[in-house]
């Protein structure tokens, strides 16, 4: 956490009610991150947090309008993530009320259980990984800080063994295809919604009432797949000499005629 943000946090460190932090939810990685920030920046004891104060600050931060920086930058908090923040809010409020009650809960050895213990453990565990993540990010990384040789001209003309199977790579590749075409491949994309054969029948049917211009025929053909199928159907009908295709002049209209109606 940078010190500028922390400095902003305590314009009046001596006050009983420090003004609310000038931070926003979108700067955090979740409720634990927020709590750690509040605890560490105010030098609270993680094992003995003033739960009422912490809850108050957390809730204020949660309710803080997110559009302070830009008017219509509506925080599009993921519903799942927003849910995680709310769950933490209710956990905190529950802790707060349990702190007011005498402690009936005892552990195996008869010691009183601090209601805050679980949260403290969670925060400590998360803080470790947060720190490790930071260190990992700062490690010299190949392709960012360090670079290896990228071409190997020496290998150009060497006969090499055939590629090996790699299921992970295969699945990754298919994932890419799925994402590109937008979802389920098997049922959606090429599910033979239109067959050339069917379209051939449809074209012939429309030609029974006389000749037809290609434009007309394609005009009411919805979608690219249907277009392609229709054109394929026309070509196939033409090839099988069931229809004739006539174009009287260059760039002129293309007319389709059923074979029977020609003679």
């Amino acid at each position: 956490m940078n010190t500028a943000v922390q400095a902003e946090l305590f314009p009046a460190a001596g006050d009983k009610q420090p003004t609310m932090p000038a931070v926003h939810l979108d700067q955090f990685e979740g409720p634990l991150d927020v709590l750690l920030h509040l605890i560490r920046s105010q030098k609270m004891d993680i094992f003995n947090v003033p739960i009422a104060e912490l809850t108050r600050q957390y809730l204020t931060l949660l309710q803080q309008p997110s559009d302070q920086q830009s008017e219509d930058d509506e925080i599009s908090l993921d519903l799942d993530i927003a849910g995680d923040y709310l769950v933490m809010a209710s956990t905190l409020m529950q802790l707060k009320s349990r702190m007011l009650l005498p402690r009936p809960e005892l552990d195996d050895e008869g010691n009183e259980i601090d209601p805050r213990a679980e949260l403290a453990a969670q925060l400590i565990a998360y803080e470790q990984y947060r720190l490790l993540a930071e260190q990992l990010g700062e490690r010299p990384r190949l392709g960012r800080d360090l670079f290896a040789r990228s071409v190997f001209p020496e290998a150009a003309n060497i006969v090499r063994p055939l590629p090996e199977g790699d299921l992970d790579a295969l699945l990754m590749a298919f994932r890419h295809v799925l994402k590109r075409v937008g979802g389920e491949v098997r049922h959606q994309i090429f599910a033979e919604t239109m067959s050339v054969r069917e379209q051939m029948r449809a074209v012939l049917e429309r030609l029974t009432s006389g000749s037809l211009q290609l434009d007309e025929l394609l005009q009411d053909t919805p979608g690219r797949e249907a277009l392609v199928t229709t054109v394929l159907a026309i070509l196939e009908l033409w090839r099988q000499q069931n229809i004739s295709v006539v174009q009287s002049d260059c760039y002129g209209p293309v007319t389709l005629l059923a074979k029977q109606s020609i003679h």
Partner: protein
């Protein structure tokens, strides 16, 4: 070793093509002159002339290459390295595996690009795919499917062991795709 020479050494090493003095000058700071660069290149060339790597001039630029004297060993290194499957080959194979029997036209429609004959050939040579028959449509295109060797090499008991296509995407990605397509429908 001065900083400039060290820097040029690193740049030449990492580059995917031979670099000209001009190109080096663009990459380096503005104050670096062509003659500074030239001096460094001469120093590097001399330094590496007696080593396992040489700095040589190719296609008008400078590039590090292994010394010819070690060619035999370098070959041994690569001869045992299986060639890598390209992204296009992997995508093609994946589509065939999931959609078999399928045609080249379908593969191309899904990938949005032409599938080169050499990709199909490579996969056939490896016996991962085979022609299952012909599709009963105009042009009678080949129908492709996976062969037994595909299961063997990808460590699968049967094709059922391939994860469901929907499992490959995560829930939120599917959500996203669904909302995109409903949006598209609404805009129509």
């Amino acid at each position: 070793m001065d900083t400039l020479t060290s820097r040029i050494e690193a740049i030449l090493f990492a580059s995917d093509e031979p670099l000209t003095v001009k190109r080096l000058a663009v990459i380096l700071d503005d104050e670096t002159t062509g003659s500074d660069i030239h001096t460094s290149l001469m120093a590097l060339e001399a330094h590496y002339s007696q080593r396992g790597i040489h700095l040589i001039q190719v296609a008008g630029g400078w590039q590090f290459r292994t010394a010819d004297t070690h060619a035999e060993y370098v070959q041994r290194l690569w001869q045992v390295r299986p060639a890598r499957l390209s992204r296009s080959a992997l995508e093609t194979l994946a589509i065939i595996a999931y959609r078999q029997p399928t045609t080249r036209a379908e593969i191309e429609a899904l990938r949005g690009v032409k599938t080169s004959g050499s990709i199909i050939a490579t996969l056939q040579e490896r016996e991962w795919i085979k022609v299952l028959g012909r599709k009963d449509v105009p042009g009678r295109p080949h129908l492709y499917g996976t062969g037994r060797q595909f299961l063997v090499d990808f460590n699968l008991n049967s094709l059922d062991d391939l994860p469901e296509a929907s499992q490959l995407l995560d829930e939120d990605e599917i959500q996203q795709l669904v909302s995109q397509s409903t949006e598209a429908n609404n805009n129509e």
